[in-house]
């Protein structure tokens, strides 16, 4: 195939996209079932719980999807361990392809803010921007916090064999605040940065298609493209744009997820004065 038609750089493997798809679907389900329980005093919450078969059924779905997410997280953790470049360990952890937060990310954050204000040049981002690393680790530790508190709350008889019952009160609030933080961050900040800002509008298809536009990436991640060119890996990294039918599917799935997220966020904010906190 002619390389001139290949105008996109491969960014995510099929396994990574599959992880994201599962995370997206399970996160939305957890958000909807969790809010259905939390807002059961309101007509909006009752309607949400009705979709899942009622107040009790919403909890059953919430617990089982939560267990599914924990299993997915464990598999992802093993996948990460497997993907580490052990031959160059520990140096590989601090390389440009690593998602580990580094001092360079803090510098780039402030330089980026300076660029927003027109007082600094735009930073030359490599493969992962600081906001992408933040998103990844926010989900990573969020999964640990939500998974642990979720299991404690889902199985209180077993968990109170190892901790006092008042720990359930504490776990409940940790679970609730972390859930609100996660949903608000994903539905407001992640959606906007990934899809709605001018650079990515109307949608960043990277997590569905697995690749990003070469021209756009030259502008946003110039250090990454330059590094690939310098290492002679750019040609191998280029792929074709997916067919129109698949792109339409990506847009439908992506915008459906965004619509559900915004609906949950808006409903949660509007109905928040009418529930018992």
């Amino acid at each position: 195939m002619n390389s001139e038609t290949k105008n996109r750089i491969r960014r995510f493997s099929p396994v990574q996209r599959f992880f994201h798809l599962l995370l997206m679907l399970s996160f939305l389900t957890q958000g909807a079932t969790g809010l259905a329980r939390m807002y059961i005093e309101t007509p909006w919450g009752k309607w949400l719980s009705w979709i899942f078969g009622g107040y009790e059924s919403a909890l059953t779905v919430h617990i089982w999807v939560g267990i599914f997410m924990i299993c997915g997280f464990v598999i992802h953790f093993l996948y990460v361990i497997f993907k580490i470049d052990w031959r160059n360990f520990p140096g590989s952890l601090f390389g440009p392809d690593s998602l580990l937060l580094q001092p360079r990310d803090i510098k780039e954050f402030f330089q980026h803010v300076g660029w927003f204000l027109g007082i600094a040049k735009a930073p030359r981002f490599d493969r992962w921007g600081y906001w992408e690393k933040f998103d990844y680790w926010a989900v990573f530790w969020g999964m640990v916090i939500m998974g642990c508190t979720g299991l404690i709350l889902a199985y209180p008889m077993d968990s109170t064999r190892f901790m006092p019952g008042w720990g359930l009160n504490v776990a409940f609030w940790v679970h609730r605040i972390e859930a609100i933080l996660a949903m608000a961050h994903v539905f407001l900040i992640h959606f906007f940065i990934a899809h709605l800002r001018r650079h990515n509008f109307p949608m960043d298809r990277a997590m569905f298609e697995g690749s990003v536009d070469l021209t756009a990436t030259r502008h946003e991640k110039p250090a990454w493209v330059a590094r690939l060119e310098q290492d002679g890996k750019l040609e191998d990294s280029l792929v074709n744009e997916s067919k129109i039918g698949r792109r339409v599917l990506f847009y439908l799935v992506g915008y459906a997820a965004m619509a559900i997220g915004v609906f949950l966020l808006a409903g949660g904010i509007i109905n928040s004065p009418y529930i018992t906190w």
Binding site: P156, T160, W173, I177, F192
Partner: protein, 224 residues
Amino acid sequence: MMKIMCEKMTILQAAAVLAVLLFLPGMVPAQEEMASAIRRYKDREASSGYYEEYEVMPRSRRIPVGVRGVGREVFPHSPSAAKVRIRTRLSDSHAGIKFYWNWRCEDCHVREAKDIHTVRANLTCRQCHGNEPIASIDHYRSPMNPIRRHAYVCAKCHEGASASFSTYVVHAPNPAMLSTKSSFPVLFYVFWVMVAIAVGTFVVFLPHTVMWGIRELFQKGEKR
């Protein structure tokens, strides 16, 4: 003649005993078991230890709240009793409250009437606290007493509830309130740490995201 009379009397007596036995509730092992605390202790608790968590009677039956000039065994059912503020160890926690029968629980217990158990599980107060007279939660015969709460109250819905489980605070204080710092410090501090993390995230990333969006929107030339 006398012999016939005696036989009739015996038959009548037997019928009377039979009738009485028919209408009285039957003897059940539980009654026998509860008849002697010493036997129960020897048979059950000393051998298995199973009941010791919640079947222990206190050493003294003295009511901890003493009122000068009034006998200790019976708490004064008088208007002055309403002034007693410590009501956690009374056999009737509402003793002495004027016009008690005209009040509803939530008239006084406003916050307690709105928590997850009442609002979401639709439990009524008496489903846990029992019927009138409602004993104080720490009264030694109250089902709500912590030594037996898990078995007498929590286990009604949460099958297998343990004493540890029953320390869950049903009427938990508002974690944001300063008063919670003394009543439930762990909840207070954990709540505010979590809120600080959440607020900190948005204080940084909301303006960051808005500024980013505006910067890209009004940038000339290539998308950036």
